[in-house]
């Protein structure tokens, strides 16, 4: 069953079109991540779903009910914000019960719900503290609790982990995932962090300037990005791009600066046509040294910069005038100036049309 359904939603601020006719259907219990750089409209879309922004066109359905013009409180949503947005003068208990009090829920029922939520999130010892006495992670837990306590169908998360440091972020990420597995509520989660998106999402919607570029499972988006933008946005370090010419026909190939990459094993969606193109390969799909000898495509490169990152090392090299990154094991002792043999399988690559930027 569909939980949240967005139909042709658009939003204009004067002449500026912020959201362009978006349509998404979100299944019951699904975890959807809206992913994109700042200013792409992902938070705006979430605010529209919450009813905090009036839309210019289209419809929003939640649980089959048209809520396009409903007040936020009547939509059956709970929301968690980036800055936690806890009411500073109220205790944790006060924060959790404010919405219920406003809705005139009986006192004993409020107490029961607050206690249950506190148990789920393990914040019972904090109930009588003020937000200023909590750490960042605790605050965000309370903020999640405030959404949880209201027994809503849909949870909206607006970059909830962006204000936390890296370690806490990783911890809470797991906790949110666990929470979702336990509650099985529909969750819509906005982030600019692709790791969060990949780890949490059932499906990811990659957005750019008010439009959805690709809406698919994390696996598909990582392996088969529909266009150059999605390919470049997903993955860290980002995909390597090489500009060149595509040779179509029976034995398709990609040519650049005297090199030729055989594309006969490339899983193209349509027969490959000749013309200018861009070849993309992820740094982690490139192997070096002895392992390279079994790959269909091989080349020798000179190492330019070495960036050790602990578990693995990122190596920058030049391949016939094109800059090129690849990932090697952290223990490999590569040095600047070394010549190494690299190789990869073109079947794992992505090839794009230069003009349309679409995947072939």
């Amino acid at each position: 069953m569909t939980s949240v359904s967005i139909r042709d939603l658009s939003l204009k601020f004067g002449a500026l079109e912020v959201l362009k006719s978006l349509s998404i259907d979100i299944e019951d219990g699904e975890f959807l991540v809206l992913l994109g750089p700042s200013g792409c409209g992902k938070s705006t879309l979430l605010n529209c779903i919450a009813g905090l922004l009036d839309i210019s066109g289209g419809q929003i359905f939640i649980k089959g009910r048209n809520v396009t013009w409903e007040e936020p409180k009547d939509r059956g949503i709970g929301m968690v914000f980036q800055s936690y947005a806890l009411y500073p003068q109220m205790t944790v208990k006060g924060n959790l019960s404010f919405g219920l009090k406003t809705a005139r829920v009986p006192r004993d029922e409020i107490a029961r719900k607050v206690a249950r939520t506190a148990e789920v999130l393990q914040i019972e010892p904090l109930l009588d503290r003020k937000p200023s006495q909590l750490s960042g992670g605790q605050r965000q837990r309370v903020a999640i609790g405030r959404a949880l306590v209201r027994d809503v169908d849909v949870f909206l998360f607006d970059e909830p982990l962006s204000n936390l440091d890296a370690k806490l972020r990783a911890e809470l990420r797991v906790e949110i995932k666990r929470l979702h597995q336990k509650l099985r509520n529909t969750m819509i989660y906005v982030t600019h962090d692709q790791i969060e998106a990949l780890t949490l999402a059932d499906r990811i919607a990659v957005m750019r300037s008010g439009a959805i570029q690709q809406l698919d499972t994390p696996h598909e988006i990582y392996n088969r990005p529909v266009n150059l933008y999605v390919a470049g946005f997903m993955g860290s370090p980002g995909m390597n791009f090489i500009s060149g010419e595509i040779d179509g026909g029976d034995s398709p190939a990609f040519r650049f600066a005297g090199q030729s990459i055989d594309l006969s094993t490339y899983p193209a969606s349509a027969p490959i046509k000749s013309g200018p193109g861009i070849f993309g390969i992820r740094p982690e799909h490139i192997v070096s040294g002895d392992a390279a000898s079994v790959e269909p495509y091989q080349a020798t490169v000179e190492i330019d910069v070495v960036e050790p990152m602990g578990a693995d090392t990122l190596v920058w090299a030049m391949l016939d005038g094109s800059e090129f990154r690849f990932r090697v094991d952290g223990q490999t002792g590569m040095r600047v100036g070394d010549h190494v043999r690299i190789g990869f399988d073109p079947a794992r690559a992505s090839v794009f049309d230069t003009a349309t930027e679409l995947r072939l």
Partner: protein
């Protein structure tokens, strides 16, 4: 780091260590009486004395008897301290036909200031909140007119207000003056509150809306408790401003309801009778006492208030 290096050198030889120790080391010696400090503190103390002299003169004059004032100079301390002038200024000094001293003006000022402060701040804080969080079409136009209006000389608007107040039957009453103070305090106070509420994270407001709170619930339960410091600033700003007002008092009230400043001026600058300088100075201090008290008690908040009132936010 330095220690490690020094230790290393110890192993090599003693001489380099001695070399290092002979140069400047440890805390740099401080000279308290540097030429810069003498100049700096000298100037500051001199200027401070200049600022304090009028207060000193007021106080000593108010404590002297008239004969002593006629003989001595205004800077000399009183030989015989008398509180007679204070009593007279408060209870029996005459303005026109009334001879009950400044006490009447004092209570008038209290009756004007208290409701004016409450009323103007209540209106302006709700205004500022509406402007910051519930922008409706046209709201900013009215706000712009309000802010531009703050620069219009009062003289341009005083007569139309006389007519408006006369129409609603409040001309010459204390409540008329309360309205006038609320009107002219509105631009700066609204700006103050609008800027404050704008600086409150918008997500807090959104969270409250998702929690189902409406316009007044968010104002009273979320915003008001959070804005207490800015309310204190506004109260300081308004108490001093309204207490010190002279122009509106003289225009919009009658002799019976004159505020303290107007009455003070009438006592001191009356042409009849012998000038009693000691009574005048006692009356002057009495009039300045309330704002001075507010100033010394509020300290940093006063500074914040005038800075907020003067610079935009």
């Amino acid at each position: 780091m330095a220690d490690v290096q020094t230790l290393n050198t110890v192993a090599v030889g003693i001489d380099p260590v001695a070399d290092r120790l002979s140069g400047p080391q440890g805390a740099r010696p401080k000279r308290v009486l540097s030429r810069r400090n003498i100049f700096l503190y000298g100037t500051l103390i001199f200027v401070a004395a200049y600022y304090l002299v009028p207060l000193y003169v007021m106080i000593v004059t108010s404590l002297k008897g008239m004969p002593e004032i006629r003989l001595g100079n205004i800077f000399s301390p009183p030989v015989e301290i008398t509180f007679e002038p204070w009593v007279k200024a408060w209870a029996t000094a005459c303005t026109g036909l009334n001879c009950d001293g400044l006490s009447r003006g004092f209570w008038n000022s209290v009756r004007i200031t208290v409701p004016s402060v409450i009323f103007s701040i209540a209106v302006a804080s709700v205004n500022g909140y509406a402007l910051a969080n519930w922008r409706f079409k046209g709201a900013n136009t009215f706000f712009t007119i309000l802010i531009v209006g703050a620069f219009i000389p009062y003289q341009v608007m005083i007569y139309p207000i006389v007519i408006l107040l006369r129409e609603i039957g409040l001309y010459g009453t204390l409540w008329g003056l309360v309205i006038v103070h609320s009107i002219f305090g509105m631009p700066i106070l609204t700006l103050l509150f609008r800027n404050y509420f704008t600086s409150v994270p918008e997500e807090l407001f959104k969270a409250a809306r998702v929690d189902g709170a409406g316009f007044w619930a968010i104002y009273f339960k979320i915003m008001l408790p959070m804005a207490l410091p800015i309310f204190v600033v506004a109260i300081i700003l308004q108490i001093t401003g309204i207490w010190n007002d002279f122009l509106f008092g003289v225009i919009y009230t009658k002799p019976d309801t004159y505020p303290m400043t107007v009455q003070l001026n009438n006592i001191v600058n009356s042409v009849q009778g012998v000038k009693e300088y000691n009574v005048n100075m006692a009356a002057t201090i009495l009039t300045g006492l309330v704002p001075l008290l507010v100033y010394f008690v509020s300290g940093k908040l006063f500074v914040r208030g005038i800075a907020a009132g003067a610079v935009k936010g």
